[in-house]
Symmetry: C2
Subunit: 350 residues, 2 copies
Amino acid sequence: MELSERKKMILQAIIEDYIATAEPVASRNLAKNHDLGLSAATIRNEMADLEEMGYLDKPHTSAGRVPSEMGYRFYVDSLMQKYSLTIDEIAGLQQSMDRSYNKLEGVISEISDLISKVTHYPSVVAFPRESQRRVRSVKLILIEERVALVVVITDGGEVRNKKLRFSEAVDYETIDVLSDFLSKQLAGLGAADITPARVMLIYEAMGQYAEILKVVVGFVLECLKDEGERLYIGGTSNILNNPEFEDINRAKEFLSFMDRKENVSKMLSLLDGDKDINIKIGSESGVEEMKENSIIVANYSVGLLRGKIGIIGPTRMNYARVVSSLELINSRLSEILTKMLGDSDSQQEV
Amino acid sequence: MELSERKKMILQAIIEDYIATAEPVASRNLAKNHDLGLSAATIRNEMADLEEMGYLDKPHTSAGRVPSEMGYRFYVDSLMQKYSLTIDEIAGLQQSMDRSYNKLEGVISEISDLISKVTHYPSVVAFPRESQRRVRSVKLILIEERVALVVVITDGGEVRNKKLRFSEAVDYETIDVLSDFLSKQLAGLGAADITPARVMLIYEAMGQYAEILKVVVGFVLECLKDEGERLYIGGTSNILNNPEFEDINRAKEFLSFMDRKENVSKMLSLLDGDKDINIKIGSESGVEEMKENSIIVANYSVGLLRGKIGIIGPTRMNYARVVSSLELINSRLSEILTKMLGDSDSQQEV
DNA sequence: CGTTAGCACTCAATCTCTCCGAGTGCTAAC
DNA sequence: GTTAGCACTCGGAGAGATTGAGTGCTAACG
């Protein structure tokens, strides 16, 4: 059943009032504060309809109305207008991000803090990572008589290294030969391509160095493995500014959940990785503990790398504002990372 | 003025009761629950003395007594007995830590979680870092026609790298020459030794590559710089299990403080870096926001690297238990890190 | 027939008042 | 010096009573 224009208008007004005040919205206040050209009594009738249709809830008889999950969903899909950050806010944001970063870790944590600062909600940033890593090159470098460094560079340009200690001295030439050999053997391969059979061939070709090769190949495999999502979670205490968390038990429940990265990671994994912006309202997230909260996440990608930024807050959330903020920050983050990872800048990861 | 043995005994009983229950301790209960061989009235007299001497506080006339900061301090210094973790607890801890780690990041976060799990307080772990870094060696490796990798290895064995893009192709020989030259020039130097004058000499000796050298030397300096302490903070929601944080505002204050790493970092910096175990009770920490909380921190060191692990909680804290737990975890952490960093294992940092 | 005014009714929240019990401090007896 | 006993204090819990914000319904109005 279609909503009449008037119902839409009223629903929107209720939701926006409720987002702003966190108090159930009463018909009289609505008539007073919005120029709807309707009396409280008429609004009451419409409200009763909207409640029957499932867009509104009533905490108890003599309270105002509160949006239901379905109400929020309709609002987000059809009613929500793009919120424009103020010039000052945009300028502030630009300025915060307009500086040089030199460590990935630093970018991620600062972006996370920034998101929390702007939205006043706990923020989550997933480190960029490649979905299907392949080896671009492998290098062995002798750094001491018995210590070499294995450096693995992937398709996407990630660089990782590991120290390797030998039981006896190895000379430069040997290391170079091994280095070239391995690079040729492994270049272009993904984790699935490095089969035991192929590994055996490598060992056989360089029989006397099998021990060394074993460690190196092991490390390469480790680099290619799609490790668990690395997350930065910040600003969790912001949740306490929301009246729905005045109850210490609810706060505890929420914060315990956020304390464990695997929880958050699991929640993120349920999102669509292709959509620009994902909005999950209440139980839509599919995570029991978060059924009273909403999550908004933007996906970013830099070359082959992809990641996520987002926030988590009560279902009564300023969706419009969060979406705009995330969009702005997201695009700037892509720029920063492109410059940093794609180009000539430092890049090391654990 | 010296405390009589009897006063000490009573003080200890009061503090331990209070730590266990979080309720002001009454004379009658003390007489009942502890075998002091004294009547409640006598205990009341002693309590009055202890209060006058500053070891106890009274929330209001008809409540029991509560330890003062001075009382806790005396307890920690003179009365506290080593708490023995149960066999099961120790076994559990050992088991949790008895597995192989392969990333520093992972060790730190898991140790932090473990501390929180055992103590039920928010935990803090500072990443190991060198105080006075020196260059051990610098390598340049060509990974593409116009892209080289700078690898800097410090005294303590930390490895860092950065990609470097050239405007025109550079051949292997040149890179090797530059690599050797730089390694010789910079080996053994600390940040303070790399003066502008010395840098000029380097540029002059290799005039035509000044541009490249500039970037490399810049990166080396960055590696040597004593960057801000890197921290992992975990289990913050544990604080909410303590009745002193039932007041949402107090909880918010605490959690906001913990949300900002720089706050915690500053607090840690005020501690003695040489003591095995630091205990700061209430206002002793010198941090206004934490004047109702205590902090217990153990220092660890691995070769040239040093770091800290600890917890933060209400002044009414199980000091004995926390100290034992930290000691145990600290020694095991040193072993793990020694194995991981000192030896042949992976090690990369941002 | 949609809209509105008016009124009865509901219900959470708040306030007040009382009461209770846990504790202390003091005094007097042991 | 220790203890029993008792008066006094004070916070906390509980019971009503009160308030006021809201709704739902009905009847009148244009």
